[in-house]
């Protein structure tokens, strides 16, 4: 289905939405469509809320953010993310934060249909006290104390992949991150792809997501830019560097929103 229809059908105001892709295959086009459709009150989930979530937060889509590292990789800070947390602009943003290992295991638990996962981690850190999603757990065999994290089960997971076939089977390769788990953990899934093909020729390192765990596929060639799609196009590192200047300032961000996305800042944005 077309991307706008996919977003309209699957993403609703107030949903918990995970857009995943670990540096590679970030579903940028889908995120921009969410901005364009002015979907509001979202709990945005993502290990690395990089420039995409900077944009979605700045555009006022998010009520809450669940994440583990909020920076512009290799460049610096996310200024819209900061402005939301430090100054509540364009709206207050609740946060729930984790480590990467914690987030990854929360998706694994969600994908596995169990309410929690166990890891060595978090002990002694101040992360523990900030959320109910992290608790100690005692090994029933050794008596050791470890850490439990609660399962993540997004209403919708959105990912970008290289290819899908007409039956809706999805194929991605290169750095595949946490996408398999994020898809399997979700109630509904939207996958944008570089292309829809007749046959998914096997590729080394591939992850294939069977059609039955994919709610909708939308063709979106270039849909991961300025991140990249292994085998299709490279990461546009300059665009990541340039984002820093755009996002530093509310006015230049609003100009970007208007000109590049066609979505002016929401009314009530300026407080």
């Amino acid at each position: 289905m077309p991307l706008d229809e996919g977003v309209r059908t699957l993403v609703r105001d107030g949903d918990t939405v995970a857009l995943e892709g670990f540096t590679h295959l970030i579903p940028i086009a889908a995120g921009h469509e969410i901005i364009r459709q002015r979907i509001r009150g979202l709990t945005l989930v993502r290990m690395t809320p990089d420039i995409l979530y900077d944009q979605m937060i700045g555009a006022g889509c998010a009520r809450r953010l669940v994440f583990s590292w909020g920076g512009n990789p290799g460049v610096g800070s996310l200024h819209r993310f900061r402005d939301a947390i430090q100054n509540g602009w364009p709206a207050p943003l609740e946060i729930e934060e984790h480590s990467h290992a914690g987030m990854a295991n929360r998706y694994v638990a969600g994908a596995s249909g169990v309410p929690f996962a166990v890891l060595r981690g978090y002990t002694g850190t101040d992360l523990v006290g900030q959320t109910d999603a992290i608790k100690p757990i005692t090994c029933p065999f050794s008596g050791e104390e470890l850490t439990a994290v609660s399962a993540l089960t997004p209403d919708v997971t959105v990912i970008h992949a290289q290819r899908a076939d007409r039956a809706g089977n999805v194929q991605l390769w290169g750095i595949t991150g946490v996408q398999k788990e994020a898809v399997l953990a979700a109630r509904r899934t939207l996958v944008t792809v570089e292309e829809v093909v007749d046959t998914l020729d096997p590729v080394p390192g591939q992850v294939v997501l069977p059609a039955r765990v994919v709610t909708a596929v939308a063709a979106a060639p270039g849909g991961a830019r300025p991140s990249y799609a292994h085998g299709y196009y490279d990461r546009d590192n300059d665009a990541y560097r340039q984002w820093d200047a755009v996002a530093r300032d509310r006015a230049s961000f609003q100009r970007w929103l208007d000109e590049e996305i066609g979505a002016a800042v929401p009314s009530g944005g300026e407080r």
């Binding site: 990789p73 480590s99 991150g177």
Partner: protein, 252 residues
């Protein structure tokens, strides 16, 4: 010998960090200076250094420095690429990684690290990126090397937020917390190298970079810094190291 003016603060930090890596070691690499240091080591004295990026690229051999931990060059040159849950659960957590590099916005005398907020968590003065892979790198690597510039702003009496645990509140804390890695073995700054005192677990100045003085280091530290009795002089960067480093960073 090259005079101190002939290298930058980042360069001596990077070269000193690279020297912490031996060939054959497995190194968990974050982006920025750690990645530069690891790739410098791999091109000089440690050709068999095994680089693991948190994007799941195991044994990456990038031909140029990646901007992010997930650049395509890492996947293309890796021995294998695994999922993010696997890199943390199957590789980092069981203690298979020899050295992990961490940066920091703040560090305290017990090498606890803050990369989360400056100020109050609920109403921060500066919101930083957060934890990423750092808490478990600090927990599980056989050794952790911390690299950051030294000042009273960064070397503080108490970090505003413990993102990653060094030695907690002192000796024995790591064992009590179930942290199985060795903890921070070295903190490399632009002024010198600090290491935990075996008795007190407090960071102690163990090596002074060429051109730095003990007074300068003390003045840049937010607690009463101990100085190792056998304080060493950091060997200056070799011309070969600087040449390779500058090729890597494009400042050749």
């Amino acid at each position: 010998m090259i005079a101190a003016a002939e290298w930058t603060a980042d360069e001596i930090m990077t070269v000193t960090a690279a020297r912490a890596l031996g060939s054959g070691m497995a190194c968990f690499v974050g982006i920025g200076l750690p990645s530069t240091a690891a790739n410098l080591a791999r091109r000089t004295h440690a050709p068999d250094l095994w680089l693991v990026y948190e994007s799941g690229t195991l044994g990456a051999k990038p031909g140029h420095l990646p901007l992010s931990i997930g650049d395509g060059i890492l996947a293309e040159t890796a021995d294998t690429v695994v999922s993010v849950p696997e890199v943390f659960n199957y590789w980092l957590q069981p203690g298979r990684i020899d050295v992990g590099f961490l940066g920091a916005a703040q560090i305290d005398r017990y090498a606890n690290i803050n990369t989360t907020v400056i100020g109050d968590y609920a109403d921060p003065a500066v919101r930083l990126p957060g934890a990423g892979g750092a808490p478990e790198i600090a927990a599980s690597c056989k050794e952790v090397v911390v690299v950051l510039r030294q000042s009273r702003r960064t070397f503080v009496d108490a970090v505003d937020f413990v993102t990653s645990v060094g030695y907690g509140t002192g000796p024995g804390d790591r064992a009590r917390l179930g942290l199985r890695g060795g903890g921070p073995g070295r903190v490399i700054t632009d002024l010198g190298v600090l290491a935990p005192d075996p008795g007190t677990a407090q960071l102690t100045l163990v090596s002074l970079h060429p051109g730095s003085t003990v007074e300068q280091v003390r003045a840049a530290t937010g607690w009463d810094l101990a100085i190792a009795p056998d304080l060493a002089a950091t060997p200056p960067p070799e011309p070969g190291e600087l040449r390779v480093l500058r090729e890597l960073t494009g400042h050749g």
